[in-house]
């Protein structure tokens, strides 16, 4: 081993990870399983994100969608929306991608021991919460009920449906609603707030984890507050342009937050509630 291998290559240099498996979740969402080629990243917590490099195309922030501490490859669920995410979503088994991380705040699972949990997600918002959901489903606590409420535009835009079924079997109260459906769909039709009109427990004292587009989080947070959940106990995952992940590039500012450092997971009250209603912040 040469001396240089002990020297940190610096915070901008990605570790090489190999794509060991991939799954097309739906028309524009793909999950990649990645294993380190040499230099693994540090252990992560649920809710944190990594910077993924498609070599020659660029780097992009992607939340980690596997559970913390789980053995095996680290999972990222990528939505094909730009040049870099397209290159990542198109990568094949055996390809090498770059990885830096983990970055940002997490869902704070260790604080969810003695309280009921409501998880509300919209669209691909389940990806950043999938690790937390796996953890909550696989580590049941007698004094904790877990409720998952999922909203999607169309039935085929629901991500991880089989996994949600497994969580349901493990005791999680799962409800899914879509905006538009035909008779092949036997679940709810309506917006996610319509399946947030009651909870199987007292909202006061419960913790809510919410992830989705900002409008959806806003409406969901209001419904949760109507159900008695304290605004301070609602955690939301916010997003802005992220280019470095380490609070150096200035892009992910949202008012007082540098979201790669102070987020993505922030309490809804007092700051986020205001920030996500302000335009062009």
């Amino acid at each position: 081993m040469t001396e240089t291998e002990h020297v940190s290559p610096g915070p901008f240099v990605p570790s090489r990870y190999r794509v060991v498996d991939r799954k097309t979740e739906n028309s524009d969402i793909t999950t990649l399983w990645l294993e380190p080629v040499d230099r693994p990243i540090a252990p992560f917590k649920a809710g944190q994100f990594n910077m993924l490099t498609a070599f020659g195309v660029g780097e992009v922030a992607i939340s980690i969608s596997s559970a913390p501490g789980a053995p095996g490859a680290i999972e990222h669920t990528v939505r094909d929306v730009g040049a870099v995410s397209h290159a990542l979503a198109s990568s094949q088994i055996g390809d090498v991608v770059g990885l830096r991380g983990p970055f940002g705040t997490d869902w704070g699972l260790e604080s969810l021991t003695g309280c009921n949990v409501v998880v509300v997600v919209g669209g691909i918002g389940l990806a950043p919460l999938r690790g937390a959901m796996r953890y909550l489903a696989e580590n049941p606590a007698p004094d904790r009920k877990v409720v998952l409420r999922v909203g999607a535009r169309l039935p085929d835009q629901i991500v991880f449906p089989e996994e949600m079924e497994r969580w349901r079997e493990m005791g999680v109260d799962v409800e899914v609603t879509v905006d538009v459906a035909d008779a092949a769909w036997t679940g709810h039709v309506g917006v996610v707030t319509q399946i947030l009109t009651e909870l199987p427990f007292d909202g006061a004292g419960a913790v809510a984890l919410v992830c989705g587009p900002e409008i959806m989080m806003r409406f969901s947070a209001r419904s949760l507050i109507d159900l008695g959940v304290s605004p301070e106990n609602i955690r939301v995952s916010l997003e802005r342009n992220m280019q470095c992940g380490i609070a150096l590039c200035g892009h992910c500012q949202l008012g007082p937050f540098l979201l790669c450092r102070d987020g993505p997971v922030v309490p809804y009250a007092p700051l986020a509630a205001e920030l996500i209603t302000e335009i062009e912040r």
């Binding site: 290559p9 610096g10 915070p11 901008f12 240099v13 990605p14 090489r16 490099t53 070599f55 020659g56 195309v57 660029g58 780097e59 939505r79 929306v81 730009g82 995410s85 055996g94 390809d95 090498v96 770059g98 997003e239 802005r240 342009n241 280019q243 470095c244 380490i246 609070a247 150096l248 590039c249 200035g250 892009h251 500012q253 008012g255 007082p256 937050f257 540098l258 450092r261 102070d262 302000e278 335009i279 062009e280 912040r281």
Partner: protein, 383 residues
């Protein structure tokens, strides 16, 4: 009482100071006149300094003039700051080479010679500290900045002739230098060129040891006080730095933002000349041989792409982009890093093609604190 850490040198002493720094291995970056402005270039001798040159600065205007006074440092600040030296406008962060399906990634070293920042104004020294709070204070410090700042030798020169755009007195960053330098010079009034030199570090003392000097007298210190006193009196612009964070935070819907948006060209000049603006974008390029290069370059929050988020930009209007820049500089910077992002150098005022003045904008908002855009119908408002 004369301080044992202060000496007086003459014009020849300035020259031997440069020589001494070069002998110690520093690349000496100092002020020179080029392209009609005072800019930073590598200097080898004192004769390259802008002797007799003065700058006249106003919102949107910068002019040099020459006098016969022989002053070496009779100017305020030019468009460049030493930001360029510690945070280059372009840096290659890493390279990757393809080898079949495999790929090797290597960090690119940043092995430029240590620089001496000769003639850095106290506001620029303050700016280096503000920049350090961001780039070196992060959990993963920026390696380029950290190395360059740690190795840099700072020769600050206190201000005797502030520009009309300066407001360092409001930001607590000048015209005198208090800390964070190796040597601090003050050009004292008088015909023959007399410089009070204060030592700020052991390194500074070592460099100064090779320069002919005499101990500073009480009279020399009084002369310095006089220079600084004149400078303070000459600074007319003010900004209420203490009130600004709260003021801007509660006035995000103030009609003044629309007003300034009508003048702002969103060109980003203010961010490029600002000694603390640190936004940077990364670009990845591939050459024909398949070598991938990751480059970081200065970015500006006035660019639409700055706030790009899958599908569009968050800050589309000029109003929102100017508001982001100014609220960040004076308000949310405090939330993020514990101090203001502004040092009062006035560059953003001078180099704004529309002459927008951050102190004036701040004062205008303060003058009608709490005003919000009205939604009255036009017909009623115009009656």
């Amino acid at each position: 009482m004369p301080s044992p850490d202060a000496v007086v040198i003459d014009a020849n002493g300035v020259d031997s100071l440069i020589t001494s720094l070069r002998a110690q291995g520093f690349r000496v970056m100092g002020p020179v006149v080029a392209n009609g402005a005072i800019v930073h270039r590598e200097i080898r001798a004192a004769k390259q300094l802008p002797v007799g040159w003065h700058d006249e600065q106003e919102p949107g205007s910068y002019r040099l003039s020459h006098g016969d006074d022989g002053e070496m440092f009779g100017w305020a600040v030019g468009p460049e700051s030493f930001k360029q030296s510690v945070f280059p406008s372009r840096s290659v962060l890493w390279r990757a080479r393809r080898d079949g399906q495999d790929l090797a990634v290597e960090a690119t070293g940043d092995d430029v010679a240590p620089e001496a920042f000769f003639g850095a104004r106290p506001c620029e020294v303050a700016a280096l500290k503000v920049l350090g709070g961001v780039l070196a204070g992060a959990a993963s410090p920026d390696p380029v900045f950290t190395r360059r700042r740690e190795t840099a030798f700072v020769v600050t020169v206190e201000c005797g002739r502030p520009a009309a755009t300066c407001f360092c007195t409001s930001m607590g960053s000048g015209p005198g230098a208090a800390a964070d330098f190796d040597l601090a010079l003050t050009e004292l009034a008088g015909p023959s060129g007399r410089f009070l030199v204060r030592v700020g570090s052991e390194r500074g003392a070592a460099v100064l040891a090779g320069v002919a000097s005499r101990p500073a007298t009480a009279e020399d210190h009084r002369a310095r006080d006089e220079v600084l006193g004149h400078a303070v009196a000459a600074i007319s612009r003010t900004l209420d730095a203490e009130a600004a964070p709260g003021l801007l935070a509660r006035n995000l819907e103030h009609p003044r933002w629309d007003d300034v948006a009508g003048r702002c060209l969103a060109c980003g000049n203010c961010t490029l000349v600002c000694p603390t603006c640190f936004c940077a974008a990364v670009e990845e390029t591939t050459d024909l041989a398949g070598t991938v290069e990751e480059t970081r370059r200065w970015d500006t929050c006035f660019d639409l792409a700055h706030s790009y988020l899958h599908g569009g930009s968050v800050r589309v209007s000029t109003r929102s982009r100017y508001r982001q820049w100014m609220t960040h500089k004076l308000s949310t910077w405090v939330d993020q890093f514990g101090n203001s992002g502004c040092v009062g150098c006035g560059r953003c005022i001078t180099w704004c093609p529309a002459g927008i003045d951050i102190t004036e904008e701040c004062a205008a908002i303060a003058a009608s604190d709490g005003a919000v855009k009205t939604s009255e119908p036009t017909a009623v408002r115009d009656r």
